[in-house]
């Protein structure tokens, strides 16, 4: 009975107020009980009047009584907000609707079914859902991938514009977070104050599992999103209803993915062969044989390989070799053969091939005599002539040496790496300059030695040091006691290759004297990023490294020359590869910032000399589809930043000036979306409680009071969706008509009461 009432009334409880209709009857009866007595003489006239009037009077009183009862009953009904249901014949009607269509445009929607992407089918459904709206209805469309974007802001009533924008909508290369899309729809609903509009959230998605789950757990929302959902579903009377329509992708879930492309060495040298590793995956269920894959550099296909067997869920690496003829920016991509989901068949990479990477060596003990200065052995190890010893065909690093006295005048921005070798004193203003250099992405390598006063270093350079410098241990006597470097702790990427290099054991490197490196005080990102690069056999670190801003700092507790160790003269020749590997690891090539995932923003550190020109002309990024995006250049920084990008592929920008040609950027996709496995109805329901507060075994989509009753799961035929929408339509609200009837009855009551002689009312 109550459910029946709920179907007709928004606030059925208020119907109890209709009992107020008894008030006029009660008043009538009370009046009969409460009377005054009058002794009256002209009774013969009164009785005569009574006999004539009594019948008419009774009818008149009955009419007035009925009108008064009707007024109160209709008023209670109006407050209960009744609605006529659709399909009630002549009385059929609808209340205004606010419909938010959440359109999944993650790249899995590019899955081809019958030669047409699922996204096109979803768009057709969206167009039909807009088409069927009445003129007064409102509609918003959200494109949801890793972010939710409102398609046609503030045009909810202009259905034609919304349809035009739906037709123009394109698929993104992002992944999906559909709970986030629903939260964004809730935000739109919360922003819309009207309580009279029926609210519908219709999610059109292929229901790939990755859109709802991460690692078997529901995707999480941030606090703000949770609040929006909670607010929208706060009031049971005005809360929206969610329809999740499954755009079926067919039975063929086979999909091959170009998952990743990376270079083995961060610093790429022009005219030297570079090794590239591409990763391919098979996320289907059947093994693929003889799969051709290709490498494209700067738009030209340069290599073709074949993967003999690509088994499901077993990523395969393919090694490519390529020599960049010219220094500068290059665009790379690998492709796998086309399949039903073409969007994930390529992976992209933007790199810079370097001609020279400049290293500044600040020598604390510069001597005229060869190999007597503090950093002579270090410079020698990095010199191009040592390429063979370093295991490379050509070394890009180029060193410049200055004495510590010349440090104040040096322009650090010209160098990728600054090495301090046993530098006793650094002027305080230069310390700040070094700090800024590191924060902006430069690298600093500090060797200690006999000229170092730990107290002064800790005090002056404290913020720059990955570790505090403790007491010196060891005599420094090459004939006396020594410590060996540990062979076991080779986790740091800079030296991890020593695991694989046979014949170059680190334990042959001895230390005769070193400063102890103690944990840095304080907290924060810097402290958390401190890692040990090399340790002694007793476990004490002898080299530590940390991130500082965009750059990195490495501290070695012993000398760069042979004074306190035997490294430079180690019998196995470990010195040259050690220095080169660490130096190349420390250096942050610019292009790393130019390789991003879809949904992230590109950053580019502009060369100082073109900043003003770039500010004047503006810097434009051209997307893979040829559309320009403006990059914002910070007021104080030299970094240009784009908005988050939605398409995978190679982006380019032209720098001003002749010397600075095209710079490439690459956006790659998160391949979790490539798995076309879908989440079915019971699994979705399992993330939504059946009743408020009911516990769920595997967690829930929303930490709010949404229940299974609030969600309808449908297929992708429009008829089915429309039938489900109609089923939950609350019809046309008619309270306005009831209020008008009440007003009319009030007027009628006044007139009739006047006419019936009740003028003293």
């Amino acid at each position: 009975m109550f459910a029946w009432l709920q179907a007709f009334f928004a606030n059925p409880a208020i119907l109890a107020g209709a009992s107020a209709g008894a008030i006029p009857v009660v008043i009538h009866l009370l009046n009969k009980q409460r009377f005054k007595k009058v002794v009256w003489a002209a009774m013969h006239w009164l009785w005569a009047a009574q006999k004539k009037a009594s019948r008419r009077q009774r009818i008149e009183q009955l009419i007035l009584l009925l009108i008064r009862i009707l007024i109160l009953v209709l008023l209670a009904m109006a407050l209960a907000r009744p609605a006529l249901q659709e399909g009630m014949g002549l009385l059929a009607g609808r209340t205004s609707v606010y419909r938010v269509i959440v359109l999944d445009n993650s790249y899995s929607m590019g899955h081809l079914v019958g030669g047409q992407p699922l996204f096109e089918k979803a768009k057709e459904l969206a167009l039909q859902l807009v088409d069927k709206l009445n003129p007064g209805d409102e509609v918003d469309v959200l494109l949801v991938n890793s972010a939710a974007e409102e398609l046609t802001p503030s045009n909810a009533l202009k259905h034609d514009e919304v349809k035009r924008d739906i037709k123009a909508a394109t698929i993104s290369d992002g992944t999906t977070n559909l709970p986030r899309g629903i939260a964004a729809a809730c935000r739109l609903i919360n922003d819309r104050k009207s309580r009279n509009l029926r609210k519908e959230i219709i999610v059109l998605t292929d229901r790939t599992r990755s859109g709802w789950e991460t690692g078997g757990q529901p995707k999480k929302l941030d606090t703000n999103e949770e609040e929006q959902v909670a607010k929208a579903f706060e009031d049971p009377k005005t809360k929206p209803k969610i329809w999740i329509a499954r755009i079926a992708g067919g039975d063929n879930k086979e999909n091959l993915v170009a998952a990743n492309l990376e270079v083995d060495e961060k610093v790429i040298t022009a005219r030297v062969e570079t090794q590239l590793t591409a990763t391919f995956k098979n996320v289907g269920t059947q093994t693929a044989n003889r799969v051709p894959v290709t490498l494209t550099v700067d738009g030209e296909r340069v290599a073709r390989e074949e993967i003999p067997v690509l088994e499901p869920l077993k990523p395969q690496n393919v090694i490519f070799h390529h020599t960049f003829a010219d220094p500068g920016s290059h665009a790379l991509s690998v492709q796998i053969e086309p399949d039903l989901l073409p969007n994930d068949n390529a992976a992209y990479l933007a790199v810079d091939a370097e001609d020279q990477v400049k290293v500044l060596c600040v020598d604390g003990q510069q001597r005229v005599t060869p190999m007597q200065s503090e950093l002579d052995h270090f410079r020698q190890a990095l010199s191009p002539s040592m390429a063979k010893e370093a295991g490379a065909s050509r070394l890009p690093l180029y060193t410049e040496a200055i004495s510590d006295g010349a440090l104040p005048d040096a322009n650090l921005d010209n160098y990728r790496l600054v090495v301090l070798g046993n530098v006793a004193l650094i002027p305080s203003e230069k310390i700040e300059a070094i700090k800024q250099y590191v924060l902006k992405g430069g690298s600093l390598w500090i060797f200690l030695g006999d000229r170092i006063d730990p107290a002064i270093y800790n005090k002056d350079l404290g913020a720059l040091l990955p570790s505090l410098i403790g007491e010196a241990v060891g005599s420094g006597d090459h004939e006396g006691a020594f410590e060996k470097l540990s062979d076991k702790d080779l986790d740091h990427p800079a030296i991890s290759k020593f695991r694989n290099i046979k014949g170059l054991p680190l334990h042959e490197l001895f230390v005769f004297r070193r400063f102890k490196l103690l944990p840095r005080p304080g907290e924060g990102k810097e402290k958390d990023s401190v890692r040990t690069v090399m340790a002694m056999e007793n476990g004490e670190p002898v080299a530590t490294e940390m991130r500082l801003g965009e750059g990195r700092v490495m501290l070695v507790g012993t000398t760069a020359d042979k004074a306190w160790n035997n490294w430079a003269g180690a019998p196995g020749g470990q010195w040259v590869p050690l220095v080169n590997l660490i130096a190349l690891d420390l250096i942050n090539p610019d292009y790393l910032m130019r390789n991003r995932m879809v949904g992230e923003a590109f950053e580019y550190k502009l060369p100082q000399e073109i900043v003003s020109e770039a500010r004047r002309q503006g810097l434009r990024l051209v997307t893979p589809s040829g559309e320009p995006i403006v990059m914002e250049i910070g007021v104080e920084s030299f970094t240009a930043v784009s908005k988050p990008v939605s398409k995978a592929g190679i982006y380019t920008t032209e720098l001003p000036g002749e010397k600075h040609p095209t710079i490439h950027f690459a956006a790659d996709r998160n391949t979790e979306e490539s798995d076309l496995d879908t989440i079915d109805d019971p699994e979705i329901r399992a993330y939504v409680p059946a009743a408020q507060g009911a516990p769920l075994e595997h967690g829930r989509f929303f930490e709010t009071n949404i229940t299974q009753d609030d969600i309808e799961l449908t297929g992708d035929d429009y008829g089915g969706i429309e039938a489900s929408l109609k089923k939950h339509s609350s019809g046309k609200e008619i309270w306005r008509y009831l209020v008008m009837m009440v007003l009319l009855l009030l007027v009628a009551e006044s007139l009739l009461a006047q006419r019936f002689g009740d003028y003293t009312r």
Binding site: N31, A41, W47, A49, Q57, E60
Partner: protein
């Protein structure tokens, strides 16, 4: 007795009436000299009849011979006694007791009029008699013009006790037979009776060639019926009580009143009877003055 006089003879009322002498419309036997035209051209001393003595009669008219023979008190009546002979017929039925809040009862009001008229008539040397009635004749005081008679009338007025139903029609027939000589009949009543019977009785007076003036005394509430809440009406004169919503009955009641009033007016006009509805809320003197002015006008027509 002095207090009785002062009770009814309101000086303000009498002053105003004094300015407008009563002038009969019809030619009546016996006028006060200089004022009334008389068909008998002077005083007559012709014996007319005997009638039983009534307290207040002048002893000089007592027929001593009859007293001597029969030991009964009879008054000799002469033609010359009769100037204007008036009878005031006062309804003392229970319904005349009604008074709306703050108002005088209809009976009191009627007594004021009766007293005023009596005083005025006696002062003009006209004789005035009085009949108190309800469903029967309670008191019949023959007409006389002496000041002592006036005091008797006023005394009777002061001691009226209403307690019975009305049966005016029947009483009018009785009185019409009883009052032999034609004169002025002043009726003071709320006329709560069947209008046909009333008119029939009045016609009887006219048949006896009396001039008839009917004062219908009604309380303001009886005319307007202004009640606005559920009321239990308890009736006088044995009427059954009635609980009703007066607002719903008002129109029907007023229709009844107006119907009655109209019937009486029409009936009286046809019989050349002066019918004067009086709202007891209105000042007494205004009512009397209006009446006298009407009579004066009609005389000169």
């Amino acid at each position: 007795m002095a207090s009785d006089l002062s009770k009814y003879l309101d000086p303000k009322t009498l002053t105003k009436i004094g300015g407008l002498d009563l002038k009969a419309r019809l030619i009546v036997e016996g006028y006060i000299s200089g004022h009334h035209k008389s068909p008998y051209h002077g005083f007559s001393v012709e014996f007319a009849e005997h009638r039983e003595y009534t307290p207040g009669d002048d002893l000089k008219h007592l027929d001593w011979k009859v007293l001597g023979k029969t030991d009964r008190y009879y008054i000799k009546q002469y033609e010359e006694e009769t100037n204007l002979r008036s009878y005031i017929l006062l309804d003392t039925s229970e319904s005349m007791k009604y008074a709306s809040p703050g108002n005088v009862s209809k009976l009191e009001y009627a007594c004021y009029i009766a007293a005023s008229l009596s005083y005025m008539l006696v002062r003009q040397q006209d004789s005035v008699g009085m009949v108190l009635f309800d469903n029967g004749i309670k008191k019949f005081i023959p007409a006389s013009a002496s000041p002592a008679h006036l005091r008797l009338l006023l005394h009777e007025l002061a001691n009226v006790v209403p307690d019975q139903r009305t049966d005016i029609g029947t009483i009018f027939h009785d009185l019409a037979e009883r009052i032999k000589r034609k004169g002025l009949i002043v009726i003071l009543s709320d006329l709560f009776d069947d209008p046909e019977k009333l008119l029939f009785g009045l016609q009887h007076f006219r048949h006896k060639r009396h001039e008839v003036i009917v004062f219908q005394l009604l309380d303001d509430f009886e005319i307007r019926f202004p009640f606005d809440q559920m009321t239990l009406f308890e009736g006088y004169e044995g009427w059954q009580e009635l609980l009703c919503d007066p607002r719903a009955l008002r129109n029907a009641y007023l229709n009844e009143y107006e119907g009655f009033s109209e019937r009486m007016k029409r009936g009286c006009r046809n019989n050349k009877i002066d019918f004067l509805p009086v709202n007891t809320k209105n000042p007494l003197d205004v009512v009397l003055s209006a009446y006298l002015a009407t009579r004066l006008n009609s005389k000169f027509k």
